[in-house]
Symmetry: C2
Subunit: 413 residues, 2 copies
């Protein structure tokens, strides 16, 4: 007997039929004697449809008005889901973000949650109702409607779970859990029974799309157990916890990979203390996300600096650097596109030196040349040629024993 927060994404509520399927999942938890708070996204592609409506009005819609527009999407879902629960004979009440007390910073399009006043939700739970909350949305202190940006509904769910001191937050999605690698590409990938917050955070940041990094961060900070599971199939999901299941005894728990990476090199940079900041400050100001950074300091007066960006941000990066050429004082730029990043993630690395060395040896065996490297305490990333990405990922998956994880491999939709 406790509070369970469940989150269902857009594909899980894409039709009236699917909404009834979701209602059934909710009622199972309710029948277990738990209080249930449900967070839902907009139905299917309805957010995209609303945005395309805005684009018919203006090519550059105000973010405030766009928030006003797109938040109607979740509002439709919460009302229909509540009606479906009523139809099944249960008490339920829908709440928009502002009604659920989700207060955010005053930024449109990607606000962070600052505070949740759970009074209204708690009162409804006390009356025995299922509470259905609109995900992805909040309200500023001044009463302006905001949205939380990508992965916002996950964040709404985890934040509500934290504020309500929930026993668990279940993230229902279109996959059955978190895998050792993306099973669409790595056939031997298997579902993990558990993973630590830190590992999940690295995987999420590396582009494993199951959970948004912000929601994982929230869960970690408030120690909310997360479960990633399928809304369609009745199989066990993956627990995201403080400490993952140690009996699996994995040094590396997952392999992630991402293509469309470009390596950009700045030649002839003055060897001054301000050089790095003179390059990266203007890039940050223009929202160019820089990933791996390598600086070759030599004896000479001038430095060479390389960093990686997503290829679709390359043009922005080049523009920013060229517009700031005098201020930075570099000689010339070079770039290499068609690259990919392959990463291994696992808490076990901390106590296992030589993991990176094993990784490089393994890639070298396959004749894969590593162009850039980046490491954290629980992650090693290597930049390789795009056409070698999958071979690299498969090799690492095998090298670190992930193909033998004792989990039944569930089908992925």
């Amino acid at each position: 007997m406790g509070i369970i927060v469940q989150k269902f994404g857009g594909t899980s509520v894409a039709s009236v039929e699917k909404i009834f399927n979701v209602a059934n999942r909710i009622l199972e938890e309710k029948q277990n004697g738990n209080d249930v708070v449900v967070v839902v996204s907009a139905m299917g592609k309805s957010t995209d449809e609303l945005i395309s409506l805005a684009k018919q009005v203006t090519s550059n819609p105000s973010k405030q008005e766009l928030d006003m527009l797109v938040t109607t999407g979740e509002q439709v879902t919460i009302s229909l889901l509540s009606m479906a629960l009523h139809e099944k004979g249960y008490e339920a009440v829908s709440m928009t973000g502002w009604q659920a007390g989700i207060q955010t910073e005053p930024i449109h399009g990607s606000a962070r949650i600052q505070n949740i006043d759970t009074t209204r939700v708690q009162n409804a739970l006390n009356e025995g109702k299922v509470v259905v909350v609109a995900g992805f949305q909040g309200v500023t202190e001044d009463g302006e409607i905001t949205t939380l940006g990508r992965g916002g509904s996950d964040t709404s769910a985890v934040a509500l779970a934290a504020a309500l001191n929930a026993d668990r937050c279940d993230i229902y999605t279109d996959v059955t859990g978190v895998y050792t690698a993306d099973p669409r590409y790595i056939k031997s990938a298997s579902k993990l029974s558990s993973i630590s917050y830190d590992e999940m955070l690295e995987l999420a940041n590396l582009g494993a799309g199951v959970l948004h990094p912000r929601s994982v961060e929230f869960a970690k900070n408030y120690k909310i157990p997360l479960v990633v599971r399928s809304s369609m199939e009745r199989v066990e999901g993956t627990y995201v916890l403080e400490e993952a299941n140690m009996e699996e005894n994995l040094v590396v728990r997952g392999v992630a990979f991402e293509k469309d990476i470009t390596k950009l090199t700045v030649f002839g940079l003055p060897k001054e203390i301000e050089s790095l900041s003179s390059v990266f400050t203007p890039l940050a100001k223009h929202n160019v996300n820089v990933d791996i950074i390598i600086q070759n300091v030599s004896d000479k007066k001038l430095n060479t600096l390389s960093f990686s960006v997503k290829t679709d941000e390359l043009q922005d990066a080049l523009n920013v650097l060229e517009n700031n050429r005098e201020a930075i004082g570099y000689d010339h730029l070079e770039y290499e596109s068609g690259l990919a990043k392959v990463s291994i993630v696992g808490s076990g690395m901390i106590s296992n030196p030589g993991v990176a060395a094993k990784m490089f040896a393994s890639l070298s065996e396959e004749g894969i040349f590593v162009k850039m490297v980046s490491t954290s305490e629980i992650k090693v990333s290597a930049v390789v040629n795009e056409e070698q990405m999958l071979a690299a990922a498969e090799k690492l998956h095998e090298t670190f024993g992930l193909s033998k994880v004792n989990q039944p491999v569930a089908a992925v939709k």
Copy 2:
């Protein structure tokens, strides 16, 4: 220089193109140096579409959840209209009902406005912005989203005009103004340059669909000049004011008519003081709207009571009366459907005795038999056979000189 409230209905904002047309009308008023508050409905048929979505979930949706659902319709319009105003280079901000401070009683589906806190609207006006408010919706003191029922957006507009002490409230619609009779049926009908609140109220209650009675009542109570005008055609509309233009010197200012009326007669009612209330209390409890009531008191112990209802409420009325037969103690029921109500409305009647007599004489000339009569200070209604309704209306329109009103007859869309 003052505040003008403009209201645009669903057909005026049914497409992106029409939304830009509305933006132009707003900017004309803004360019006149006025502060403008705009109230809009949901786009075209979108409310109907949302309701049909709900009906796919349940045949009997909760009114609270239905309010949650349908209020998204106006929210979509306000954001798109604000974007259109931005696109034209003007500052604008959208507000939902709750953001605009429209507080209602805690009733879903047909709440009355209790109070409007205009702080937010006034602040935005002070910043030079056009304020675009979602019509038809409000919020209870407890933060529940409500809707105002039929004609709700008119009521939102007039109530905002009252609360803001606006100079005028312009109701843009798909007709060019208020007519002496419905021009779709009475070819000689002409547009009135002005009409009094009381006359408009009678006409609105008699089913002249231009304005909802509640909005007229609000305008009357707060002495807000209303203008009914076309959103598509650039012609003068009709002013609704305390005192209509007297130079037109009309005793009767309009003829209204409505079909699908049924006369219901209760025979053998005990001649007791409670009799009337024993019939009408249960009908009211079941939301059966009774219009004209006639009681024939005779010398005998028993009374006969007749009243009219809309034909689509007949079955409800019969059920209620039959279920309460013992408590009421009547003998039997009879009813006659296929009737219509024809009414004349005009403030001038108060000082003109004999208007009703002239009406009856005129109908009698046409061989039209009057089955029931009801009068107010500024209205006479007669129930006639449905097939004689238009003949009666045309005859009365001519008898009271309405075909000669000195107004250019504008086209009606």
